[in-house]
């Protein structure tokens, strides 16, 4: 290699080092180095190229230690290739690839990359739409008047009905909140009869009409009972139960009822004016039933 070119390379290789971040991997560096040999890539000396690359990596490492792994792997590979290229051909082991072939492949890869670079440059050097050549600035929209023919076959109709029908019979399982007659509702209802119930009347008589079926009546009894307790506590009604689990009667409160000694026959809860009374009410449900 003439001195002049060698110097060129020195200068180039300095800029290579500075430019390392601008290179996209070892192949990029190799291609640049190969270009520096100023020969057709097909005739490139892989041996020289390997030497130059190794020198480049050495120098780069001296400057910055964090040289990317790719560069080092390629360096190792090239060092190996170089040694293989230098060895006499007879020493070649059976299972190892031919060094010349490896070199040829590297040369091919560089050529190919170079070719793609040129192709990219040519491509982007073409007249580009919107940069060099222009389409109509105000395209006239072609209005499409669409006439749609909707079709549906009988089979589609039947199939979809069958699906809809079977889907609706198998809704996901939801545990619905049980319907309950609230004490508030019962209270409103009972307050309505206060004053109109002079005689002892069974509590069941005050249940709302639509709660008298088998499933819902327990809830209504519970709430009505609780409401009656509340009204008794407030002093509006009197309650009476003559035996355990016996029927409960209610009537309007009278003067007599207000006397403290007349607690006989009444549930203890009625006369106890205890603030926690209402909290205990839920426990009574079972008894009412």
């Amino acid at each position: 290699m003439p001195d002049g070119e060698s110097l060129d390379f020195e200068a180039e290789s300095n800029s290579l080092l500075i430019d390392i971040d601008g290179f996209e991997g070892p192949l990029d560096v190799l291609l640049t180095l190969a270009r520096n040999q100023k020969v057709d890539l097909r005739q490139i000396s892989i041996l020289q190229l390997a030497e130059q690359y190794l020198a480049f990596v050495r120098a780069a490492r001296a400057l910055r230690l964090d040289l990317a792994a790719d560069y080092l792997v390629t360096a190792a590979w090239l060092a190996y290739l170089k040694s293989r290229l230098l060895l006499p051909v007879e020493d070649k082991a059976e299972d190892e690839p031919d060094a010349d072939e490896m070199a040829a492949r590297l040369a091919f890869q560089l050529q190919r990359l170079e070719a793609m670079r040129k192709a990219a440059a040519t491509l982007f050097g073409r007249d580009q739409l919107g940069r060099d050549v222009f389409a109509r600035g105000k395209p006239e929209v072609v209005t499409v008047e669409k006439q749609i023919d909707w079709t549906c076959r009988l089979m589609d109709l039947l199939g979809s009905y069958a699906k809809a029908k079977s889907a609706s019979s198998y809704r996901p399982l939801h545990i619905e909140r049980a319907k309950a007659h609230s004490m508030e509702e019962a209270l409103v209802r009972l307050r309505g009869v206060v004053g109109d119930t002079p005689n002892w009347t069974r509590l069941e008589m005050f249940l709302p009409e639509d709660w008298r079926n088998e499933k819902m009546t327990r809830s209504a009894i519970a709430s009505t009972f609780a409401a009656s307790l509340e009204l008794a506590r407030e002093g509006h009604v009197a309650l009476r139960q003559t035996e355990m689990f016996g029927p409960i009667y209610m009537r309007d409160v009278t003067e007599d009822d207000l006397a403290p000694d007349l607690t006989e026959g009444l549930d203890a809860a009625v006369v106890t004016d205890h603030p926690r009374q209402r909290r205990r009410i839920p426990h009574l449900r079972g008894k009412v039933a």
Partner: protein, 216 residues
């Protein structure tokens, strides 16, 4: 691209070239341009007004004309050809699943209210779906239901029968027949509650495959 890459700074382009420039400028512009705006884009010494007159004349008989709009210039399709820019397309489209299902439910349950359709489908029925079916004249409004709110009901039409080749809606196969014909897929049939009640019967029918179906 090559011959004129660097036109001498003061050489005025010849008339022919000026015409080409006006054409290109008008073509590429999204808005009408005034004579001054056009001239401003042309090399110095060009006469846009002259060029525009020539270009206007050149295009007078063509499929695209140079027209003046609001004192500015633009290229427009010749008015006698505007019909070319309307396209009539006939398209055959399959009815959507929602529409098919809705139509089917109306056919089987008529007269049926929207709420009832939704109950069967388990999802809301969009107004668009009903509108489409009404527009196709496959369904029409029936009597109002004499319940609170007096909701409208939907029924199928003659056109519906004609389209589906039915004598009457009574000819529609029942759910059992649908099952037998395989329109209900095996999976859904396998988990019908009646069969659950009687495991022996289910066993007889489906054999050991039954369990597998449940989880498929």
């Amino acid at each position: 691209m090559t011959e004129a890459e660097t036109p001498p700074p003061f050489a005025v382009p010849d008339a022919d070239r000026q015409d080409r420039m006006v054409e290109a400028i008008l073509f590429a512009s999204s808005d009408p341009l005034s004579t001054d705006e056009i001239e401003a884009r042309m090399p110095r010494g060009s006469d846009a007004a002259e060029a525009l007159r020539r270009v206007e004349a050149a295009y007078a008989e063509r499929g695209v004309n140079v027209v003046r709009v609001a004192g500015k210039w633009a290229l427009r399709t010749a008015s006698d050809l505007s019909f070319l820019l309307r396209n009539e397309a006939q398209e055959t489209r399959k009815l959507s699943r929602a529409a098919t299902e809705t139509l089917a439910i109306i056919a089987y349950h008529q007269p049926v209210t929207r709420t009832e359709i939704e109950e069967v489908r388990g999802v809301a029925v969009s107004k668009g779906t009903l509108d489409l079916l009404l527009e196709l004249e496959w369904i029409k409004l029936g009597r109002r239901r004499e319940t609170p709110g007096r909701p409208v009901t939907f029924v199928t039409t003659e056109a519906f029968l004609t389209h589906f080749g039915l004598e009457s809606t009574k000819d529609l196969p029942g759910l059992d027949e649908l099952k037998k014909s395989g329109l209900l897929d095996a999976r859904t049939v396998a988990i019908t509650p009646q069969k659950d009640d009687d495991p022996l019967e289910a066993d007889d029918e489906d054999g050991p495959g039954e369990d597998a179906n449940l989880f498929n």
